[in-house]
């Protein structure tokens, strides 16, 4: 379980987040929604202390992340950035990096086994010795997800993981995230722009507006009024075939 309490952050004198708070249970997938500049990416980077918040706290299973060492934090929270730097590293080596918080000196058998299993799980076994710069966008995102998952985190932070993917890869990626989150009881916080993708795969929705939490809850909070207020666009929210969809007008 993760509890975000009164988190505030500013770049110099420019406030980005103001007293943001929410709670998410293990195995839940929470979509973090809002327009550009609302503070979504800043929020998730404050959660795992990539950025140090000005005030507020984050608790994971009751323990404050501020009191954790970097290694301990990396064992609890995994993160996939919006943009990934390419390097001349093989797929296996990149996934193996996820075991860094556990590796003391040499790579252990357990590390190799976990990485092999995860590479098979995401379907990249044929590419495991390929360099990252030879992969497609979808394959690269799967590698990053695999790297994050071998950290064995309690919380997984994903910053727009589907933004550069075609529809098929978007759905494959989200299916995989939801499946693994439920299996391993991982809380997933996912910054996402596609409302319909969020509606399909997220259990709860946190709307950010101008750096503050606007609404938080289940499907019921994704309504016409919220979307119009957060994004400033006219929208229709409909239930079709038992599924809620949003149409921007």
């Amino acid at each position: 379980m993760i509890e975000v309490q009164n988190l505030s952050f500013s770049y110099g004198h420019h406030p980005v987040l103001s007293h943001v708070g929410f709670t998410a249970q293990s195995g839940e997938c929470v979509g973090i929604l809002g327009n550009n500049g609302a503070g979504k990416s800043t929020l998730i980077t404050c959660i795992n202390r990539i950025r140090t918040p000005d005030s507020g706290s984050v608790l994971i299973d009751g323990k404050a992340v501020g009191n954790m060492s970097r290694r301990e934090l990396a064992r609890s929270v995994a993160y996939v950035a919006q943009k990934n730097e390419m390097s001349q590293t093989t797929v296996f080596d990149c996934v193996l990096l996820g075991r860094k918080p556990y590796i003391r000196w040499a790579v252990g058998e357990e590390d190799l086994r976990l990485c092999t299993a995860m590479i098979h799980r995401v379907g990249l076994e044929a590419l495991e010795l390929r360099s990252l710069d030879e992969l497609s966008g979808g394959e690269l995102q799967k590698v990053m997800l695999a790297r994050a998952l071998v950290q064995r985190p309690k919380v997984l932070l994903l910053d727009e993981p589907t933004s550069n993917l075609d529809p098929r890869n978007q759905y494959e990626m989200m299916e995989l995230v939801r499946e693994v989150a439920r299996e391993q009881h991982i809380t997933v916080l996912i910054v996402i722009h596609d409302l319909n993708l969020a509606l399909r795969y997220c259990d709860r929705f946190f709307f950010l507006k101008d750096g503050s939490g606007y609404r938080y809850g289940g499907l019921e909070v994704v309504d016409q009024h919220t979307i119009e207020s957060v994004y400033g666009v006219c929208a229709k929210v409909m239930d079709v075939g038992g599924r809620r969809i949003v149409i921007i007008e």
Binding site: I50, R70, A81, S87, C94
Partner: protein
Amino acid sequence: MKKDQLAELSAPYRQYVRRKWGFVAICAAVMALACLASLAAGSAGLSLGQILGALVGYGSRETLTIIWNVRMPRIAAAVVVGAALAMSGCVMQNVLRNPLASASTLGVSQGASFGAAVAIICLGAGSQINSGGSSAALTISNPYLVTACAFLGGMATTVLILALSRVRGVTPSTMVLVGVAISSMFTGGTTLVQYFADDVMVATVVYWTFGSLGRAGWQEIALIGLLCLLALAFFLFHRWNYNAMESGIHTARSLGVPVEFLIPASMAVCALIASVSVAFVGCISFIGLIAPHIMRVFVGNDYRFLIPCSAMAGAVLLLASDIACRVLIPPVVLPIGALTSFLGAPLFLYLIMKRGSVK
């Protein structure tokens, strides 16, 4: 999947890692061969038998003197200085996220040169000796003072670079421009210091900046060697952190890398070994830039292998350059700093053209 099955499935990766270790062994063998070639090169015309005999203590007094007092110190200097410069370039390129980073491109060498010039000329760490007739030469009478001043010069540059890298909006490419500006500043400072020295001092300091492996004695070599070993231990201890840094600073932090410590500490260690090398053998450019890039072609960006391979590649490049310096126009020994730049630049261009870009 069961444990046995998974172990079997990870076999290709294990084989791949074994191949990488095999490549490290090949690098060590090439370095040993380069050392032997360097022992054989020179105007004395020693046979392989004479060289091998001298190595185990047999041979004429003259042969033993040539091998142990003339050639061996040069070889040892080439190995430790080449390794020091290459390792510092390799790690600087990683922590600054800039493929063009090295001690010479960032101005660390020039800062160290300035510090060494101040120590030699202003603080009396160099003493003038008569070498017969009217000619005179300069020896470093206080190597520790020169080392300390060279280190301070190198560190001053490093601190400036790190301070500027924290300013928002400074891109990796800007960092190289910062290095150009800092090098220019220190080169100007060195010129000013020389302006107030007498003719012999100026001539000797200018000659000193050309770079020469023959200048370092066993005491200096031991000091660089010891620092090199400590630096290697530090770098290898952080090899997984450097691997994580390749994914970007944010991802590295999320993987548990203590970025706030790693970057300044690594830069300080790089500046130390590069500055001390420059203090004892003068400015030697391009080794720190090119050796890691050559090795990336073979081992990629895995710092478990890249750090030791770069160190050995740096040693081999400097040994090869030293051989060229001694045999191109015998009995004249060309300045090694000039030769490494002269040969290093086209080699670097070749790599860029071959690979499209140096990543």
